[in-house]
Amino acid sequence: MTANESIGIQVSNLTKNYGKLTAVDQVSFDVRKGEIFGFLGPNGAGKTTTARIITGVLKADKGEALVMGYEAGTLKAKQIAGVVPETANAYEDLSGWKNMDLMGKIYGVPKNIIKDRSEELLKKVNLYSRKDELVRTYSKGMKQRLILCMALISDPEILFLDEPTAGLDVQSSRMIKDFLLEFNSDGKTIFLTTHQMEEANQLCDKIAIIDQGVIVKIGSPERIRTEIKGMHSVEVSFEGAVNHHFFNSLSEVKSLKKKGDKYKLYTEKPGDTVVSLAKHASARNLEIVSLNVLSPSLEDAFLSLTRREKKS
């Protein structure tokens, strides 16, 4: 396989303007075949616009996007892709089964295959027993599972998902993630747009972080996480209530965040911070319930990268 043959999505200098606003600015990246690629960014960063250009819903003002070697937006590129758009919906006046049938026919899937595949997919996401009910009676999680099944009815080579688990309950969210991993294990490519760090961390082989229309980082989640310096943290919880003034005398602590009954102290010197914290607690007769030194999380990296962009 040559270098080009191994690339599922190739994006070069993609630019999209809305009046004076540049929503996507010279964005370039490659997604290898069989990879789960996470496209991360805060709200309004340009994620959805980029995804819409690649899926052929919008046209770029400049640049080029290729899907499995086909120009984005062409019938060939659309035919081999499955799409779960952001805030998309199934037809609520049709049953789940009729929605599957409609999507299969639109993609030109033969009738008998539509039937078999719909049955298989709906069973996998626990919707088969409710297949004949109108979609308007489905819960949000059920609708999202159905939309995913609709995107897979044509057995696509590549799957685009824009915030697929946003606002879902844990069960539906887990089911969708497991489903995606299973799809990927067959060698299929996934392009996932999300702002949920944990989701990206669990699923993605590679991620790109976009902010204000510009790619600020591309790499594996682990690599991006470890590249962020000075973002170690110490997580501590005490028996009894403590307010943030307690930490004022700890000079090593750069910033702190309360997380439930725990405090997360950001520091460049985690070892010194632990020692100071223990002494400080002991001097005030405070019992430490838990104390953990944490490396930077993907969320920390994300915040660091996107904040840095805003400052500049």
């Binding site: 758009p85 049709l94 639109i106 030109g108």
Partner: protein
């Protein structure tokens, strides 16, 4: 895949879109109100108490029903799909914009043609003989397609509010009814009214219906059909171009 094969494939998919529209939108309240009840009550308000022979009324009724029904679905589908958030899925599917539009026009066209059969059945029920049934059917088919294309132009504005589009379309449809020889035959209109009526496609269909039912029209059949073809091409091309521009703005 050859160009012919792509054309055939897209035509087939336009029919799938049309079937989806038929299944979902034919029974929607606004479609029934603006497409069926509105023209019927408008007609009754004109006809009741005037002691006019049914034979004189039926071409106008037929024209009004076809016009209102054919323009009742095509304007509403795009804002409904926008509101229901189903449009992006269609736009990312292997469909050309023209295919989606053609599917909507087909659904609206079929609705118009099917409902128009009701006044024709009434015609038979009242013992009125249609002199040229085949020509009348051809006129209904052509005019249905023409009016559906016109309906699609109403929804060009990228709004997600079907009510806005419905109001806009009613604002256009009402004056058209009064200038198209529906209530008053063209030869009885004043000169200025006749001149205005030439710009309405409904004028030519009503004339075809009068020719086929009352054996008396204002224009020749050839001219009526020629004008309907011209209006159809104009509306269809305009609808295709304008929706190609505005569809991405809907999402």
């Amino acid at each position: 895949m050859s160009d012919t094969a792509i054309l055939f494939q897209q035509a087939k998919r336009a029919w799938i879109i049309a079937r989806k529209d038929i299944r979902i939108y034919y029974s929607k309240g606004p479609v029934i109100i603006f497409g069926i009840l509105f023209p019927v009550f408008l007609f009754l308000s004109f006809a009741v108490g005037r002691n006019l022979p049914f034979e004189s009324l039926i071409p106008g009724l037929l024209g009004m029903v076809l016009f209102f029904t054919s323009t009742s679905i095509s304007p509403a589908v795009a804002p409904w799909e926008t509101q229901a958030r189903t449009l992006e899925r269609l736009m990312s599917a292997p469909l050309k914009t023209h295919t989606i539009i053609l599917g909507d026009i087909l659904a609206s066209f079929l609705y118009g043609v099917l409902v128009s059969i009701v006044p024709l059945i009434a015609c038979v029920g009242f013992g009125i003989k249609i002199s040229h049934p085949v020509i009348l059917m051809l006129g209904i088919i052509l005019a249905g397609f023409c009016f559906s294309s016109l309906g699609l132009i109403f929804s060009a504005a990228p709004t997600s509010m079907p009510s806005t589009i419905m109001m806009l379309s009613v604002m256009v449809k009402f004056p058209v009814i009064f200038i198209s020889g529906i209530f008053i035959p063209l030869d009885q209109l004043p000169e200025w009214g006749r001149i205005i009526s030439f710009v309405s496609p409904l004028t030519y269909f009503t004339d075809i219906a009068r020719l086929c039912i009352k054996k008396r029209g204002y224009f020749s059949l050839g001219f009526d059909f020629l004008m309907l073809v011209a209006f159809t091409i104009l509306f269809l091309l305009f609808a295709m171009i304008i929706h190609h521009i505005t569809m991405p703005k809907r999402i």
